[in-house]
């Protein structure tokens, strides 16, 4: 029995934390808000130099060949500082599906480029239908003469500025397939969208007869929905870690503030309204952490219960993050309501993850289904059908 990160993982965490502390933590996120993309790119370069992007890339493609659990401390640290960028989209979505479904040539290209920190991915999924369902994928790709021609629109694509490639779910002959598109391909137009969470820059992407070689197809034609589901498992395990890191930071800051801020001659942390709220927050944090560790372990070991474990971690952690970020403002009082201190940045990010790459309700359904509770019902319904 050993339910903890190992020493190497904790050591890696220390490096990342030290580096991000040197970057003055949320200052990078604030640079991004201020439009200083170059400063952010520099900070990301530093992160890459630590090897963060190499972690889960196989040795053969210049990576470290480590697993999902090794990403956990990194993701937590990114969460602590609300680090801008497409780490999640790249390391926890693109890399795993490429690793699992792509050809050797594709791996050679994409994974090596990621490992070197040269290039990164983001995900162009949502369309004007605004839904993460299979039906919501309508962007049409016509396959002729070894190339796809894409026409349509994607929306709310995150942080294209830091990504070279887009993972684009498309519809080919009525079925979903996954294509990697270079953002500089002719015919592709990127338009910035105003976003709620200013630490994530959203864009609409218009595809006007964008042609892509068939070599950009990931996995077999028509298997796209299944591939996305695999990508989501990795992503959701990782995003739960990001949320854990963010909550950890919030609770540190809020506890500290509760010790120094006085009203009615007492540190506010002495009032049980504040004190017990913080205790509840801490319990939620540690529960989210346990669930997220386990989710990543289940993913790494392809444990039988990995789907329900990952959905649980995702639902619990994102929900707890939303609540804790909100409590943090109340604990801070008026000052927490200003742009000046970081409280609001955490609130905004928490809401960003809430329904990003799938709604909470969808994950409830997925977990219920994975636990066989649907099946039991269906079996029973079927039985009734036979009887009546």
């Amino acid at each position: 029995m050993d339910f903890s990160l190992n020493e190497d993982q904790e050591l890696f965490r220390k490096f990342v934390r030290k580096y991000l502390n040197d970057q003055e933590q949320t200052k990078v996120a604030r640079d991004y808000i201020a439009g200083n993309v170059e400063a952010v790119k520099q900070a990301i370069t530093g992160v890459n130099e630590l090897g963060c992007m190499m972690v889960n890339i196989p040795d053969d493609y210049d990576g470290m060949g480590l697993g999902k659990l090794d990403l956990v401390p990194i993701m937590e640290e990114f969460g602590r500082t609300l680090m801008p960028g497409v780490f999640l989209e790249t390391s926890a979505f693109a890399v795993p599906i490429i690793n699992q479904f792509a050809t050797t040539e594709q791996k050679q290209q994409y994974l090596s480029e990621v490992a070197s920190g040269e290039k990164a991915f983001t995900i162009a999924w949502l369309e004007p239908s605004r839904s993460y369902t299979e039906k919501g994928i309508q962007l049409e790709a016509i396959l002729e003469q070894e190339q796809f021609t894409l026409n349509g629109m994607k929306t709310q694509v995150a942080d294209v500025a830091f990504a070279q490639y887009l993972i684009v779910p498309v519809r080919v002959n009525g079925e979903v397939s996954i294509i990697v598109v270079d953002k500089e391909t002719p015919g592709l137009t990127i338009t910035a969208q105003k976003g709620f969470d200013e630490t994530r820059q959203l864009s609409s992407i218009y595809f006007d007869n964008v042609t892509v070689p068939i070599s950009a197809l990931i996995g077999p034609l028509g298997d796209g929905w299944g591939i996305l589901q695999e990508g989501l498992l990795s992503y959701n395990a990782a995003v739960s870690s990001v949320c854990v890191g963010a909550m950890e930071k919030i609770i540190e800051v809020a506890s500290e503030y509760a010790c120094i801020r006085e009203q009615f001659g007492q540190a506010i942390g002495r009032y049980q309204a504040i004190k017990h709220r913080l205790a509840d927050m801490k319990l939620s944090l540690e529960t989210a952490r346990s669930l997220s560790y386990y989710a990543n372990w289940a993913l790494e070991t392809t444990s039988e219960d990995r789907v329900e474990a990952i959905c649980s971690a995702r639902i619990f952690a994102t929900q707890a993050f939303v609540e804790i970020a909100a409590h943090n403002i109340q604990i801070h009082g008026g000052i927490g309501f200003t742009e000046e201190i970081d409280c609001h940045l955490f609130v905004k990010r928490s809401r960003f993850y809430e329904n990003y790459l799938g709604t909470q309700a969808q994950y409830y359904d997925q977990a219920i289904s994975a636990l066989g509770w649907d099946a039991a019902t269906k079996a029973k319904e079927h039985e009734n059908l036979l009887i009546s």
């Binding site: 949502l126 009203q263 009032y271 403002i329 109340q330 609130v347 329904n355």
Partner: protein, 397 residues
């Protein structure tokens, strides 16, 4: 039990409604667009208040001699309902009209009344309220701003915070410490401070939704005169409280706003689609909306019940703390749900939002202030527990 309005009340409503239709700023009903530039906004709001005042719609509860209508409580309620209905522009001199004016009428000297009241009504002089300080939030009596008598002047130093509309204000109803009393709410004095002087510096506070409603006010050897003291020197705590007591409709305006916002949210759920289905087609959205419905109805009906009591006994009761707690928490909840039900599309902002130019997103962020300003939810709970349920005083008090 009777939810109807008298013929006279209905006539009042109709008169106001007709007047609003004719006098709201041009194009207001269609878009409710306020000028984004601050100086322009100030002008716009002053002009709106002047328009109201000219027709005696600015301070209806004031006596007729001061330009009011001597309105009944029910007329004030109707006034709020109608203003919410058209989402009327805010009153730039809200503090003057609802707090300072009535306080002056109650305890101001005849000279003070004559000097200040007319300009409050027209918006010629906009007032702000100088209560909160960095270390005196919930604990209002802990004010540290000092006023020291030097010759015929009072020299004032300190810092105020959360001062709404201070950037438009000409005068401030300022609470300062003039002596160190035995208890901390002794030795406080209230000043009617001129904001247009060198010793007063106003710095904006930018809220988490990117807007600017509040300010810090730095006082560095600012000056006030004896004639600008309201009430007695060192006896300002009572004046401070008196000012806060003049809001006889309590949080009525927010209650009616919440009712309207809920209806609008249902409309969002019925019109915004996901996969060509309205959001309300999802069972969990309907469930969330019903929870909001029950609570929104509850907050409105609680308010009516407290109002009924007030109509009978003649003054607002401590139950107002329940109204404040509930409507502020519910407002937060409503806007939070508004974000959730939109799915990831709820992360779009302003003109890129799928609905109402991002109204829901912006107000979600703004709503965090509701459970802090005007007495935090924690303070309201203390009040409910101590003053309604009779529990012992909190630690530290």
């Amino acid at each position: 039990m009777d939810f109807s309005y008298t013929a006279q009340e209905e006539q009042f409503r109709q008169e106001l409604r007709t007047w609003l239709e004719e006098n709201l700023p041009e194009g207001w009903l269609a878009s409710q667009q306020l000028p984004s530039e601050e100086a322009e906004l100030g002008q716009f709001l002053r002009k709106w208040q002047k328009t109201l005042a000219d027709s005696r719609w600015a301070a209806i509860a004031w006596p007729e001699k001061h330009g009011g209508r001597n309105a009944t409580l029910m007329e004030e309620i109707i006034y709020h309902q109608e203003m919410v209905r058209v989402k009327a522009p805010p009153l730039v001199n809200y503090v003057g009209l609802h707090m300072v004016g009535p306080t002056l009428m109650q305890i101001g000297t005849p000279e003070q009344q004559e000097k200040y009241i007319p300009k409050i009504l027209t918006g010629e002089e906009v007032w702000c309220q100088g209560y909160s300080e960095p270390n005196a939030g919930s604990d209002l009596a802990a004010v540290q701003t000092t006023a020291v008598k030097k010759g015929d002047k009072w020299v004032i130093n300190g810092q105020k915070i959360w001062t709404s509309f201070a950037h438009f204000a000409d005068r401030c109803f300022l609470v300062a410490r003039t002596s160190k009393g035995e208890k901390k709410h002794h030795g406080i004095t209230c000043f009617l401070l001129d904001m247009n002087q060198p010793g007063v510096e106003v710095r904006p506070i930018i809220q988490m939704n990117g807007e600017h409603d509040f300010n810090e006010v730095y006082l560095t050897d600012a000056v006030a005169y004896d004639s600008e003291i309201i009430g007695q020197v060192d006896d300002g705590w009572r004046v401070t409280i008196a000012l806060l007591m003049h809001e006889r409709t309590g949080i009525g305006a927010q209650v009616f706003s919440l009712e309207q916002q809920f209806a609008e949210l249902v409309n969002v759920a019925q019109t915004v689609t996901e996969d060509d289905q309205p959001l309300i087609a999802k069972p969990e959205v309907r469930k969330r909306l019903l929870d909001l419905y029950m609570n929104q109805r509850g907050s409105l009906l609680n308010y009516y019940r407290n109002l009924t009591k007030q109509l009978k006994v003649g003054h607002p009761g401590v139950e107002g703390s329940m109204d404040k707690l509930f409507v502020s928490e519910m407002t937060k909840k409503l806007f939070s749900e508004a974000i959730s039900i939109q799915g990831h599309a709820g992360m779009l902002w302003e003109e890129d939002a799928v609905q109402d130019q991002g109204y829901w997103q912006k107000n979600y962020l703004y709503s965090f202030g509701q459970t802090i300003g005007g007495g935090t939810s924690e303070i309201q709970k203390n009040t409910i527990a101590e003053r309604i349920l009779g529990l012992p005083k909190d630690v530290g008090r």
